[in-house]
């Protein structure tokens, strides 16, 4: 039972991250391999605040969300000014730089050893220590995230984003603020990643740089590509499917030392297969 709970909690956290990546890759249409870096910043901020006891869970998550909004806007701004391929370089660079920071800035991140003993989340003075309680927290967070994503894509703002993807020049010519719309989408993506980081840190109570490296970013991209770009259901399906994969791999007996390698291998194969044969993913729209 605990096992199922853990799968559900992690999937829900990754739904938030999937929405975040989907906003950037699917909706705004920029290639990003640095969403795990933003996720990590959120996780470390919440972890640091809760460990030092200066803030309780909700304010800490709020600070993390604001920091991640700022960070994500800062990261994506260049992509909105220079050609698409340059941003790929920016994105790889940010991810590698973030990994270097997570691993080497011992004071803030615990370095390669990570931050152990992050306390469980607390709401209004009550500690939520049980797995079931945390499942409730992650469910609320994921449902709120999905609701926000759904409402935004339906609102005039969402239609504006869609129009930008179809024909950016025409939208600009119609007098709409293209840059502002893209920055807003990036900001929202940052908020999702920050909240996801906070829930992740308090649920696992231990965070280290391997959860936020390039491979993690590629996993997020795979979730969006497999689930489907630009739709809510795509971002929900992707995480639930891909997080089940490690379990499937344990069914075919693979030595545990090769488990991570095999997982990444499958992600890579999925990326190629979907790019070639189904670029819209399982439940998405044309990428």
């Amino acid at each position: 039972m605990d096992y199922l709970y853990s799968y559900l909690i992690l999937s829900e956290i990754y739904v938030l991250l999937g929405l975040s990546t989907n906003l950037l890759v699917g909706v705004v249409g920029i290639f990003s391999v640095s969403q795990a870096a933003v996720f990590g910043v959120g996780a470390y901020i919440v972890g640091d605040f809760l460990l030092s006891g200066t803030l309780s869970f909700l304010p800490a998550v709020a600070v993390a969300a604001v920091a991640c909004i700022a960070l994500n806007v800062l990261i994506t701004l260049p992509s909105l000014r220079v050609a698409g391929d340059y941003f790929v370089v920016t994105s790889f660079g940010i991810q590698l730089l973030a990994s270097a920071t997570f691993t080497n800035w011992t004071w803030g991140t615990g370095g390669a050893n990570g931050l152990p003993g992050v306390p469980p989340p607390d709401l209004f003075g009550m500690q939520i220590a049980s797995t079931r309680g945390i499942l409730a927290v992650s469910t609320v967070a994921a449902v709120l995230g999905c609701l926000a994503f759904w409402l935004i894509l339906r609102a005039p703002f969402g239609r504006l984003l869609k129009a930008i993807r179809e024909d950016e020049l025409a939208v600009a010519a119609a007098g709409k603020g293209v840059l502002r719309a893209k920055v807003s989408a990036a900001a929202l993506a940052g908020a999702f990643a920050g909240v996801a980081g906070g829930v992740y840190a308090t649920y696992l109570s231990f965070i280290d740089p391997t959860s936020f490296d390039l491979d993690a970013s590629i996993l997020l991209l795979t979730m969006v590509v497999v689930g489907g770009a630009r739709t809510l259901w795509g971002s929900v399906l992707g995480p639930f499917l891909l997080l089940a994969l490690p379990q499937l791999l344990t069914l075919i007996a693979i030595p545990t030392t090769y488990a991570a390698t095999m997982q990444q291998l499958v992600y890579g194969a999925l990326l190629i297969a979907f790019a070639l044969f189904r670029p819209q993913g399982l439940l998405g729209e044309r990428l």
Partner: protein, 286 residues
């Protein structure tokens, strides 16, 4: 003296990354694909050479064998991945995703076959230290400088002095015109990928002679090389080569003031400066 040694090390590693940058620029300017999986081809070269050397093949032959392997992989990626995507009119984003997937597959197949740990070449000459004045360089480092500068000379001659090189530059300059004048851009694309994959194999083998092989070791060099290509100006092969040397020299000199873990930060800072002040690069053509 330390300064001079760091400078020398920078030029050695820089010339290796210079060839990565030149080969990448060759692909990018012709096919317009940001070939992320090039990092995988780079890594594969080293592992192939390692296997051949372990099997008792002489070092030079092993290098040749590894280059052949890289040529096959590079041409296959163009023929069976990028070309079909191009025919279907796939968005740039989708091609990138496919390329990233390819990189993941190559890296993890290597990790599964050879283990994710660092492997050292058994070649004894590579580790021998030579004193030049006050400088100390290993055999592998000397081979790297020699081979990579020679390879750069060859590329410049090839691109500007041969008919095939001119054909490639014609396709890069105007694919549409190349199509209607029967220069066959598609075949040229496969050819370019083959040549660039053979080139990238050189630093892919010579670098690890010095510091060992690692299946995930290709991403950072490729990122640095790409930054060099952009900073040098897209379309300028010499720009890519010399900017790569300049960046790596700066990276090495930065070791005087900060620890090596942050050298990726130095590279990235250079990129940001270029993005802000000269996004088209130093020697952009056209």
């Amino acid at each position: 003296m330390l300064l001079l040694q760091l400078l020398a090390n920078g030029i050695v590693t820089g010339s290796a990354l210079g060839i990565v940058a030149v080969s990448f620029a060759l692909i990018y300017s012709t096919t317009r694909v940001l070939h992320v999986a090039h990092a995988g081809v780079f890594t594969l070269g080293g592992y192939l050479a390692w296997s051949l050397v372990r099997a008792g093949v002489p070092d030079l032959l092993a290098l040749g064998g590894a280059m052949a392997g890289c040529v096959v992989l590079g041409a296959a990626i163009q023929q069976f991945l990028y070309a079909p995507l191009e025919r279907r009119g796939a968005a740039q984003l989708v091609v990138l995703i496919a390329s990233l997937g390819m990189l993941e597959v190559i890296q993890n197949v290597l990790a599964a076959v050879y283990s994710p740990d660092i492997l050292q070449f058994p070649s004894a000459w590579a580790g021998r230290v030579f004193g030049l004045g006050g400088l100390r360089l290993t055999g592998a480092q000397l081979a790297t400088v020699g081979v990579d500068f020679a390879a750069f000379g060859w590329v410049m001659w090839f691109a500007h002095g041969t008919l095939l090189g001119k054909r490639i530059r014609a396709v890069a300059a105007n694919p549409f015109l190349a199509e209607i004048t029967r220069l066959e851009p598609r075949r040229v694309h496969v050819l370019v990928m083959a040549i660039a994959s053979a080139l990238v194999c050189l630093p892919g083998v010579l670098g690890p002679l010095d510091y060992g092989l690692q299946p995930y070791g290709g991403v950072t060099p490729l990122l640095t090389a790409t930054i060099a290509m952009i900073a040098g100006g897209i379309g300028s092969l010499a720009g890519a080569f010399f900017l790569a040397i300049a960046i790596v020299v700066l990276q090495n000199l930065s070791l005087l003031v900060m620890p090596g873990e942050w050298s990726i930060g130095v590279t990235f800072a250079i990129f940001i400066v270029f993005m802000l002040f000269r996004p088209r690069g130093l020697f952009a053509s056209g």
